[in-house]
């Protein structure tokens, strides 16, 4: 039996080939079966190199109070970042006025979320979000303060934080079962969307109005290769992660990248958590 090429380029196998392949398959199955017996030890996938240990998310119930406590924590976290930015003396008078207003708005939203938490039977959360503070804010601020252009990084960070806060409330307004809480988060989503847009226009004027990505072209970058921020980045309110590049380049010209995401299981403020402040 000869192997003949067929019109589409695939090979046709004869009876002898089938017998050979069958024998090989049976042999491999026997080897795999032998290796699979009496195994002991960790069954998780293997890991190569150094990586922090994986923290399993808590297995606590999620209700409206948890979602609202998380919303409060996120608002207070963002206010904390802005207060740090105001303390750097890097902002001009116009930006100081803007950031002071942003702090005021976030504290007001946090208060409202706290009141709503109590109205649904929970305990208001009056601290920042420990997950975001440890994993995002602290390394982010340290990187910005050592940056070659901290002003650029502060504005890009503020735009990203407002967008992620708006996305969080946009998600919560659908997830919350309490109608008053749902309505309040929609108002917060709207307010924080306006914040994000105002920061982009304050930073870049008309150049910061609309992302060219909406028209189908790729994202624009500045002379340093950092993605530019815009007031309008998508046709629909996105709840996807936001990439934030900040800080001075290292010896290879690489800057620190932070991925901002809406709160998930590991960042929720469960009712069982004790205040951290």
């Amino acid at each position: 039996v000869t192997r003949r090429p067929v019109a589409d380029g695939a090979a046709r196998f004869g009876r002898r080939d089938a017998i050979k392949l069958g024998g090989l398959t049976i042999s491999m199955a026997a080897i795999v079966a032998a290796c699979g017996e009496d195994r002991e030890g960790d069954t998780s996938p293997g890991r190569v190199g150094y990586a922090p240990p994986i923290t399993d998310p808590p297995d606590y119930p999620i209700d409206d109070a948890v979602l609202l406590r998380t919303a409060s924590s996120l608002e207070l976290t963002i206010a904390e970042v802005y207060q740090t930015a105001l303390g750097t003396d890097l902002l001009d008078a116009e930006k100081v006025a803007l950031f002071e207003r942003l702090v005021e708005d976030h504290l007001a939203v946090a208060d409202e979320m706290g009141e709503l938490t109590e109205s649904v039977g929970g305990e208001a959360w009056e601290c920042t979000n420990p997950w975001y503070m440890n994993r995002l804010v602290e390394p982010l601020i340290a990187t910005i303060l050592a940056s070659d252009d901290p002003m650029r990084d502060i504005l890009n960070t503020a735009n990203a934080l407002e967008s992620i806060a708006a996305a969080t409330h946009q998600t919560l307004t659908v997830d919350l079962t309490d109608e008053a809480a749902s309505a309040a988060t929609l108002v917060a989503a709207t307010l924080e969307s306006r914040h994000a847009a105002a920061i982009a226009t304050a930073a870049r004027g008309a150049d910061g109005y609309v992302s060219p990505a909406i028209g189908g072209t790729g994202p624009e970058t500045d002379a340093d290769g950092i993605a530019l921020k815009f007031a309008i980045t998508d046709r629909f309110g996105s709840t996807g992660q936001i990439e934030l590049v900040v800080g001075a380049p290292d010896v290879n010209g690489v800057r620190e990248t932070f991925l901002l995401q809406t709160p998930s299981l590991n960042a929720l403020i469960y009712n069982e958590l004790e205040p951290s402040c």
Binding site: L98, Q170, V174, L191, Y209
Partner: protein, 208 residues
Amino acid sequence: MTPKGLSPVDLDPAAPATSRRSLIGALGAVGLAGAAALSIARPASAAPTSPTEGDKALLSQAMQLELTAEALYRTALAAGLSGVGADLAAVFAENHAAYASEIAGAAGFSADTRNDEVFDLLESAFDTSDADAFAEAAHSLENTAAATHKTLMPEYESLNARRITASIITVQARMATVLSDFGGLSSGFDDLFEPDAEALDLTAGATS
């Protein structure tokens, strides 16, 4: 920033109900609000994913409003708006067309009908090549559209209607903020972040 002044766009607010049509709309809204109040007691998992018949009636009105907004931006472009104003009008027209298409797709009908009453009311304000006049009219339109969707939000029973609406409102708020900057319309942060905007009463059409 310059003072906002009076808006050239005088949209019919949802309340108070002074005309017969708005009264009918208000009555319709009361009926829908009653249905929404019952739905609060249901767990979120019990909410239907796809739009209900009640949702579809409201979504149809929302879709028509979006097509109206698209047509108004195209009116400004046809009037000779140029530069940054034209760039914004072109993108915003596409955004509103996308909203109409998304709403129609979720509800299972065609995005082919605008709200002529609203269009006729606003057409003259958008029929301009003057950048400042365009910014003022468009700023008012975006804030009104966002407020209108916000009013409809608690009336929706399905998750998809609520998800789509929330994702539209947040971008309309951004568009309004951009237009405010473009036209120099805000006299302070209160104007910028908490603009006065009243929702259109679309429930009359939804219940007729």
